[in-house]
């Protein structure tokens, strides 16, 4: 059943959100975002199968490309942060505090 795939996608997406909001480790947060992207991809593919159209696949490819770009930049930023403070704690970076 397609609905089962979609529900699995929802579960994975919620786990991704949970990782973003509850963890302080930069890597874990980053990988949680990747997990959310993958959940979205699963939904695309499932819908594509449901409607028997190829557009979902194309979108999934786009998401992968964006994820790759994001990974490159985000990891560069992580390296910079580590260089500056030798820490992986997101709470270390709070210059925007009001």
């Amino acid at each position: 059943m397609i609905a089962d795939y979609l529900i699995l996608s929802i579960i994975l997406f919620c786990i991704g959100i949970l990782g973003v909001v509850s963890r302080r480790n930069v890597f874990t947060v980053f990988m949680s975002i990747e997990l959310m992207l993958n959940a979205a991809n699963l939904a695309f593919i499932a819908f594509s199968r449901l409607h028997e159209s190829m557009d979902g696949h194309v979108l999934a490819m786009m998401v992968m490309a964006v994820a790759a770009a994001e990974a490159a930049l985000a990891l560069a930023v992580v390296i910079l942060l580590h260089k500056h403070k030798s820490k992986l704690d997101t709470n270390m970076f709070s210059l925007l505090k009001g």
Partner: protein, 639 residues
């Protein structure tokens, strides 16, 4: 009305000096700190606009002359300025005999003064700024003169007020000069208020049929007598401010703080003549309100008397000339007040020549003596500065009303008209003032040029001024001699061309008085001149020492303490009133709201600052909470 002649170049006359002002001002602004441009460039740019304006003015004159006598005018509407309700004001210009007469001598004398300034201001660090202001001044005056209605006239009216402020306080490094500029501006503002009120009343009364001179003139008969009187008096308040009459004359002597060409421009061609011009312009109102005319005449002649008294005791050469201007302006107002508008305007015309001449001559003397202005430190300059001496002599004779020079004819015309129109009191005071004028003029003249030098060192360095300064003097001297012959009355075999020329613009009745009355007026004028000049020669012709002023003389030297009086009665209470408002009203009533609202914003900001924790994870939580609330709301509706 008949067919309206339209020309397109009329707007260029005021526009040329204004464009010059803009160009020079911008050039000066962007280069004065980095690399100042040469004075030659500024000089050429500065005289271009006035010269073109002069040529166009002459062209306008000849075109107007070629038209039939009735309906001798043309106008140009450049654009509709504003159109509110019944008030439809166009940026329009009107050339008729009155404005063209003014136009001719304003542009001509203004241009001469521009040329003279090149020599006078040489070496000044703000040479460019000076010419920008000077051009702006001339442009504003031309707007005032050429305006086709009271509103556009008011633009020029305010423009000359602003420029007088800028130019009087031109040497702004000295506090006194700045204060003099402030004084001129503030006193003028008081007069302007009268002008605005008069203009508003005029519009309220008869403005619905069009608010330009021609329409107003047609509708003037619909004016109620009381309303006409009120309008005339309020407009005259405006004129007293601009033209330095009692009680607002105090700014003009202080205006001597500016450079001398500026004084010449203010006193001769622009600004102070504006009030007389305005009264003549509204002659169709003043003939309907004889009482207003009487007020104008008496205020004018009393101003003339007061200023002549002050002038007899001054020691600053420019102050003497300043009070003579105030005095002559009094004559002009006496002229327009007794409904002799053409005589008043004619005196404006001749006065422009000899007063410009006298100021430029005085400037030449001041320049030669390294900015020494005290006549008790001059003397014997006749030998050193021949051109200045002879031209100044002509100017003094004209001012004093020597027969056969221009000042005599115009002044005599005013006095004769006062007598003929039934104002013997005005005539009597006028003759007395004429004698005093001759006295103080020659007092100054003898002290400066005759006798022996009182300050040897300054005398040794004195020399004749350069050509760029003396040539305008000679031209003006020729004008001062012959300008009077343009309006020669019939008794001297003339035809009063100026009066006939102006007839199209003015509403004027010419009384037919007896020959005896005319002869009496002429004889009195000549006698007044002779007595005044003779007393001056007796006292100062052979050199004299500076006297200690006692009693009345001291009182007059200190200007009757009018300034101190104004200060104590008006300025001080006004300042106290302002200070009281600042202490009580301002912090609580006006500023209170503003401060409260800013405080409120600050408090709200402080309260919401709590949420800006700086941790990116917390921001993500905010977002998810919002998403969650939205989901809760949506799941209520989704079924």
């Amino acid at each position: 009305m008949e067919m309206e002649q339209t020309v397109t170049y009329l707007v260029l006359i005021p526009l040329m000096p204004l464009v010059g002002a803009l160009v020079i001002g911008l050039l000066h602004m962007f280069t004065c700190t980095t690399r100042p441009l040469s004075e030659r460039l500024y000089g050429i740019l500065g005289v271009t606009g006035p010269v073109i304006a002069t040529i166009l003015a002459v062209k306008t004159f000849f075109e107007l002359k070629g038209m039939p006598e009735e309906g001798r005018y043309f106008s140009q509407k450049v654009f509709t300025w504003f159109n509110v309700g019944e008030l439809d004001v166009a940026m329009g210009f009107l050339a008729d005999p009155l404005s063209v007469l003014m136009l001719l001598f304003v542009t001509f004398i203004g241009t001469l003064i521009h040329f003279y300034s090149i020599g006078y201001m040489a070496g000044d660090e703000n040479f460019g700024k000076f010419f920008a202001y000077l051009n702006l001044f001339l442009g504003s005056m031309l707007i005032l003169v050429l305006a086709d209605g009271p509103v556009v006239m008011f633009v020029g009216w305010e423009g000359v007020g602003l420029c007088s402020y800028l130019l009087i306080s031109f040497y702004s490094k000295e506090r006194d000069n700045v204060l003099a500029g402030n004084k001129a501006f503030i006193v003028n503002r008081i007069g302007d208020l009268g002008f605005i009120l008069g203009m508003s009343l005029l519009f309220w009364a008869i403005g619905s049929g069009g608010f330009d001179y021609l329409s107003l003139r047609e509708n003037a008969s619909a004016l109620a007598p009381g309303m006409g009187l009120a309008i005339c008096l309020l407009l005259f308040v405006g004129a007293t401010g601009k033209s330095a009459q009692i009680p607002l004359y105090v700014w003009l002597p202080d205006a001597m703080a500016g450079p001398t060409p500026v004084s010449a421009l203010i006193h001769a061609a622009t600004m102070v003549t504006a009030g007389v011009y305005m009264v003549a312009r509204f002659s169709f109102l003043y003939v309907q309100a004889p009482l207003a005319g009487a007020v104008v005449a008496w205020v004018g002649i009393l101003t003339a008397l007061l200023a002549a008294i002050f002038g007899m005791f001054q020691k600053d050469i420019k102050k003497v000339l300043a009070y003579s201007t105030v005095s002559q302006l009094g004559y002009m107002f006496a002229g327009v007040g007794v409904a002799a508008y053409s005589a008043g305007i004619f005196h404006v015309f001749t006065h422009a020549f000899f007063k410009a001449l006298l100021f430029l001559g005085a400037g030449s003397v001041i320049c030669a003596l390294h900015h020494q202005q005290d006549i008790w430190k001059m003397g014997g300059l006749k030998a050193k500065m021949p051109t200045t001496y002879w031209t100044m002599l002509i100017g003094c004779l004209a001012l004093a009303g020597c027969p056969l020079l221009s000042g005599f004819f115009s002044k005599d015309e005013i006095l004769y008209m006062a007598l003929a129109n039934g104002y013997p009191g005005v005539w009597l005071v006028g003759v007395l003032v004429a004698a005093m004028t001759a006295y103080y003029t020659f007092r100054m003249f003898f002290l400066v040029f005759h006798g022996s030098a009182r300050d040897e060192e300054a005398y040794a360095h004195a020399k004749e001024s350069p050509k760029v300064m003396t040539v305008p003097l000679v031209i003006l001297a020729i004008g001062a001699v012959f300008a009077g012959y343009l309006n020669l009355p019939a008794i001297f075999g003339g035809h009063q061309q100026v009066t006939h020329w102006l007839a199209g613009s003015l509403v004027e009745h010419h009384p037919h008085a007896s020959l005896g009355l005319e002869l009496l007026a002429i004889a009195a004028s000549i006698a007044a001149f002779a007595i005044g000049a003779f007393i001056a020669y007796r006292k100062f012709g052979q050199g004299a020492e500076e006297p200690e002023f006692q009693g009345f003389a001291k009182f007059a030297y200190n200007l009757f303490y009018v300034d101190q009086f104004y200060h104590a009665v008006i300025v001080r209470p006004y300042k106290a009133f302002g200070a009281a408002i600042q202490r009580t009203l301002e912090p609580y009533v006006t500023d209170g709201h503003v401060k409260l609202s800013s405080l409120l914003y600050q408090l709200i900001g402080q309260a919401f600052k709590v949420f800006q924790v700086g941790y990116v994870r917390i921001y993500a939580i905010y977002m998810v909470i919002g998403l969650s609330l939205m989901s809760l709301f949506l799941s209520q509706t989704l079924n």
